[in-house]
Symmetry: C2
Subunit: 349 residues, 2 copies
């Protein structure tokens, strides 16, 4: 932790002015080769590395974008950050992850920090829309005065910022249709919130889809729950134990793969064999999906691509002063064996 050399030290020792050092650092062509080499030698000798604070202060930008996400174990977030980091790097920026707690208001302190740090942009992603998350519009509005804002989430609320989101209708339609095509008629949905103020509207869309197919939308087939495996376990237990066996659904769609994981465990514990007694579909196409037993059919929302777009649009917005708009990414059904599709099962009743 010795005293770091400054540009003055380098200039003095090389017998030039600081301006020349800057030029050498920037690879500016108009420096005599002899001078350049002399300066470079001194730079190397001290392993001189210019201060970003000073540079940022002078330039008025930090070449850094912030990613704000709930601090959860869900690998989905890891994927988003990875993608953001890579894409930012490819564009000459750095990405910085800031974490918020689930279902809590956006901390005023965090917003202040993003502004203090003079981030060149900020991406909000993940379950930022929970109804308990008060103050989000205000936070984004405040931030927008200082930097472009992009969200990766359902465009439920009018936020006057760029919004990248999945095709959530397809996200419900795909699995429902898949089960329907395989002959399933009693289909259940577990997870997330079925209440109307769930901004992802997964529950609503699910019901919509059932009606479009003339399937029963029995309220007993919809269980509100959390987002983790344990919630999946509990949701299945609650649903099935409250239902006469003859009215059991033959297929379950889970809010995400973690919930499906819990559901599978609970179903097996109840003596069902999968997929013959019960089909199940998750969402997110997590790394463990091929390794559940049976391998889990799921929906891929392509978070990496959405994130990549988010970073690009963010950086573009810096220059273009573009207004608010939204971009939708299609979803894909990844068929494995948890619905029997690959095994040739076909429900008939």
């Amino acid at each position: 932790m010795e005293k770091r050399a400054t540009i003055y030290d380098i200039a003095r020792e090389a017998g030039v002015s600081t301006a020349t050092v800057t030029r050498v650092l920037a690879g500016h062509p108009s420096v005599k080769t002899a001078t350049r080499e002399k300066v470079q030698r001194v730079i190397d000798a001290h392993a001189y590395t210019p201060s970003a604070s000073a540079r940022d202060l002078e330039r008025g930008q930090t070449k850094t974008i912030a990613i704000v996400m709930p601090a959860v174990i869900n690998p989905y977030f890891t994927r988003v950050y990875n993608a953001a980091y890579r894409e930012a790097e490819a564009c000459g920026y750095y990405a910085w992850l800031f974490q918020i707690e689930e279902h809590k208001p956006i901390p005023r302190e965090l917003v202040d920090e993003l502004i203090r740090r003079r981030m060149d942009g900020v991406i909000f992603a993940g379950g930022i829309w929970s109804t308990q998350r008060t103050g989000l519009p205000e936070a984004l509005e405040r931030l927008r005065h200082y930097m472009p804002v992009v969200t990766i989430c359902p465009p439920a609320v009018d936020l006057d910022c760029i919004c990248i989101h999945s095709d959530l209708v397809a996200c419900s339609r795909l699995p429902v249709r898949h089960l329907h095509a395989l002959g399933h008629r009693r289909i259940a949905f577990i997870g997330g919130s079925m209440r109307l103020n769930d901004p992802s509207k997964r529950g609503e869309n699910f019901l919509e889809e059932l009606r479009a197919l003339d399937l029963p939308d029995d309220p007993a087939y919809h269980v509100d729950a959390g987002f983790d495996a344990e919630s999946g376990e509990r949701a299945v237990l609650r649903m099935l134990s409250g239902l006469d066996r003859r009215r059991w659904p033959t297929g379950i769609i889970a809010f995400n793969d973690q919930m499906a994981l819990g559901a599978i465990k609970q179903l097996k514990q109840m003596g069902l064999s999968l997929p013959s007694d019960m089909a199940i579909i998750g969402c997110d196409n997590q790394f463990f999906c091929p390794y559940t037993d049976p391998p889990l059919t799921t929906v891929d929302l392509h978070p990496e691509e959405m994130t990549q777009s988010a970073v690009r649009e963010l950086l573009l917005a810096r220059d273009n002063q573009a207004g608010a708009f939204s971009l939708m990414r299609e979803a894909s059904l990844i068929v494995r064996e948890s619905c029997g599709a690959k095994l040739g099962y076909r429900k008939l009743g």
Copy 2:
């Protein structure tokens, strides 16, 4: 993106000097109440937020620590970052995640960036020790001139920095003894590298343990592999298909839980039933362990606690100028059902 107000603007508009504005901002007591209120009003009116670049430049510190880790999907890293972020925040710092590629040299550019950004410290974690990762000692050495460095990894190489690590001997001993106590005699290990230059020495320690127990350390029971589920699948296939059925191991220890995931799939695909035909133990106690079939017995290395210590020691080292030392965290065996322990199985052969 309007022009941001500076401390000059606030001072001028409030009719005071910048020094007074600073004092108000810092909550300094020696400001007349009337003045304070007047200044505060102007601050609020502009939503004035001081620039971190300027503050950092002046103070000579950033109140930020860096975490450098491989960019992998392994949830282990998420847990480390979460823990680091929280602990840093609790200490009045921010944490910033920088990603490196697996099995590649530490990029010179990254080291430069950490120095440029004047990080107040840096933590290296994860699989940073792979033998292909050249230049690590040099990178750390260079960084050490500018900031304290802590690594969370095996203390294999003399690095002259603080090193937090797991009890890797126990990490091999625990699962081997567990299987041994359950009657297993032919025990295999898959994953990581069995070569001597694997700094985690998991392979070596495994062999050591077998010998201590007078168990056969047949080379066929040791399969080098990667670190993901697919590697686990392949490793099992390779091992068993090369072995006469009578010589098959009765228990497998995997380098981590992801590999165990793959191993379980492969074993089932070969028609074995678990845990009666084969016991299996993972490592890391990931969120999915209770949800494999059967639930996976594993080793918990307590990464959150190690990370917490890492952050604390890092911050302490800033003040104390403390020399290099290392801290070891004990490991714990988490017994579930993948070895039959809870089901009362007991191998006798």
